[in-house]
Symmetry: D2
């Protein structure tokens, strides 16, 4: 059992009829159901829940894995909240960044790059090929996941080289995309997963749900060492009488 917090911008679903038809209670509601059915302890949080967007220190302290969906209001996420999420990831909290979350403040901060890409909304076919069949994130998945109607994301995707590339996508219109990317930042596991869109029912796809559940388990923290930083006494017996320091 992993303690999952599903974060959602939750604007499109309330403002656009076409989106509300696909996700009447918000994308977060669909994802929360998926993780609950998988046996996890789930809560949700959204942008407009207050100045902390539902991501208080208390909530994050009780979160093993945070999933992030945002699109039109990345800029409205307050920097103090981003700082806090960032700190928790480095301390070991898992982070799963979904689709348009590539442009979120937390993802670009963790990556150190623009995370820009090509995109097109033409309801075209995507085929996510598994390139690492031994990776825990593809448990139960076939050689590829096929989605009939998706927004295209195309390379160049301006990210650091992933620690592990798990999925790579083919698009009908001629592009490819590194669509499942694993990173470790600090002690935290980060997974970027491309599928998902506000107007296509991608999060109802069973394979997509399966990958997300696998990713939650993969991203959950390990109880490893807490590194000490700063001035350190020698472990071996050495002469420490040098006094040239200018601190």
């Amino acid at each position: 059992m992993v303690r999952v917090t599903v974060w959602n911008e939750y604007r499109h679903e309330r403002e656009s009829e076409v989106v509300a038809e696909v996700y009447p209670d918000g994308i977060h509601a669909v994802l929360a159901d998926v993780f609950e059915e998988a046996g996890h302890e789930v809560r949700t949080a959204t942008l407009d829940e207050g100045p902390e967007h539902g991501l208080t220190e208390k909530v994050l302290a009780e979160t093993d894995v945070l999933t992030w969906w945002g699109h039109a209001a990345h800029d409205e996420v307050r920097d103090e909240v981003v700082d806090r999420v960032h700190e928790h990831v480095l301390d070991g909290m898992g982070l799963i960044v979904l689709h348009s979350g590539h442009y979120s403040k937390i993802f670009t901060r963790l990556m150190g790059t623009t995370c820009s890409l090509k995109w097109r909304e033409a309801a075209e076919r995507e085929r996510l090929w598994v390139v690492e069949p031994g990776h825990p994130i593809v448990e139960g998945i076939d050689e590829y996941i096929q989605l009939e109607e998706t927004e295209m994301y195309g390379e160049r995707f301006d990210i650091p080289q992933p620690d592990t590339l798990v999925f790579s996508s083919w698009f009908e219109g001629g592009e490819i995309f590194r669509s499942g990317c694993c990173y470790r930042r600090g002690a935290g596991n980060v997974f970027y997963f491309r599928p998902g869109h506000e107007t296509y029912p991608v999060y109802y796809d069973e394979d997509v749900q399966r990958v997300l559940c696998n990713a939650v388990e993969w991203a959950a923290p390990t109880d490893g060492p807490t590194p000490a930083f700063g001035n350190a006494d020698p472990i071996e017996g050495i002469d420490t009488s040098d006094d040239r320091t200018v601190h």
Copy 2:
């Protein structure tokens, strides 16, 4: 010939007698000489040269590789200048981050992590072992570089896993450190190199100089593609009549 800009905080050398004895004209002067002797076109820039710290758009536009030394005044580097350097790195400018530059704004932004570490000033011995003997950065270097008096930096070094780890250091007091780390961020090559300190004459060491010269050549930009980002027409002939977009 590479166009190198050597950036230095240049405070310690003016404020502390013990540092001034080692680097009377500043660390940047020593490094500039090294790169000039190697045949490169070199300029220097320092923190107090004005509000842009000598790193104007014009200077960066004419820079292939930027080297960075800072220590006590990282916070005084203005965010606009960091933004500009960041953008140039992603566009292909090489960046070589030296020693205490691990805590600079530009390095932590590119890494996405704290870049914290352990440290100790005891003038102890360091041995930088080459772990990748085929890498261009170690051309002309023996199996290890030995420095008799160094500040210790010890793991855990809170950085993303390097794309390539070239050097790993042994310290007399019992620690180890990933001391030569290669990254690509955007189109830019980034090399972190640990040796160097304000009170130890490390930058006069010929092996250290050799590595820095190799790194300058390794980090120089390649004239590759300039990726297009944003909305993209399909390359293949597909139906683009879908109008569910909510943009």
Copy 3:
């Protein structure tokens, strides 16, 4: 529960008194106990158990993770058995290679390099520093593991760059070593772990045991896709009438 097979060359323990005093029933017996206590289903196999060294197709088919200890008789492991182990690793069986196993046929075949290194038997101190505190293999481990009496292994270790470097060692005599290295080959997870020697009681160390138990869980197979190889029909409707093939 993971099905573990502990393989041991098991010669030194029977031929040398000094080794027999440390490992009276063989190194495999100590390791088997460790994994059994951790709740796994364990069997052992040794070089002299017959022409297949205890590694029949049936045994491997029932093995999730194989651990390998060899030293003086690598050449006596029959190529047919190495072929079989190799195939099982690529199909997803985990492999944990211990200490002098770096020179085993199975490890050098999986790596594609010589796996050579420097060594010295001087009962010196080793300190294995954790460089990836968020990795599942270091659960329950402090910042470093200290072993008072070890054989030294030093860089250059002629291996491919690890997918993840988890431990890096400091040695009293001045060397460092990448001592905990993760790889994926085919669908199989491979972990090389340096500690261990026939004359030093390293496998009785609780931290070493803890790492090995963690590694067993990390290396266990995932039930992912079984890739199809060879001639493939198109998934999209394309013209396949070209007949220039010379097959």
Copy 4:
């Protein structure tokens, strides 16, 4: 100037009319011209040149970068020659493996995996997308290379995760493929490049030629340290009186 040896199986071109029309003097002749025009010192060698296939110790000792094309006769390459090439790569010789060379003895030995893949000969369109625009191998290349008639190679490509993935391919029939993969093995740089086929005139494509020329420069050896392996005296003054060794 790099000393390049172009190796070719050179059977199809002599045995099949359709191939001879595309490559009347052999694929090696076309590639040799390309490298010569780029200013390199080039020689060629082919399978049937004698028991050493033209790859004598003398030839390899004078080779900086070896390119490899084989398809139907991988098994006829003698193991002694493969051993020799392998040794030279580990010692620093660059190796560029082309298209169907994925199944060559030298590539599978260096990779440690089967290097299997999916394939189809339907003269379909391939688009090689650059995923690392800052890499020296894509100097002068646009965002993608488009080839109108190619054999398809599809994932899963059973290789170790590349040190750097430079190109990833889109195919008309619905597959993707990691088509430009960089590795370092020992001190040697290895580049696998997918394009090329005996019945399609791929090696006349200017972009393909450009990539190959870039790869030759990238793969050329560096004059780095020659690691010492085996028993090593301590560098630091430690007690070496322990006599428990059983060697």
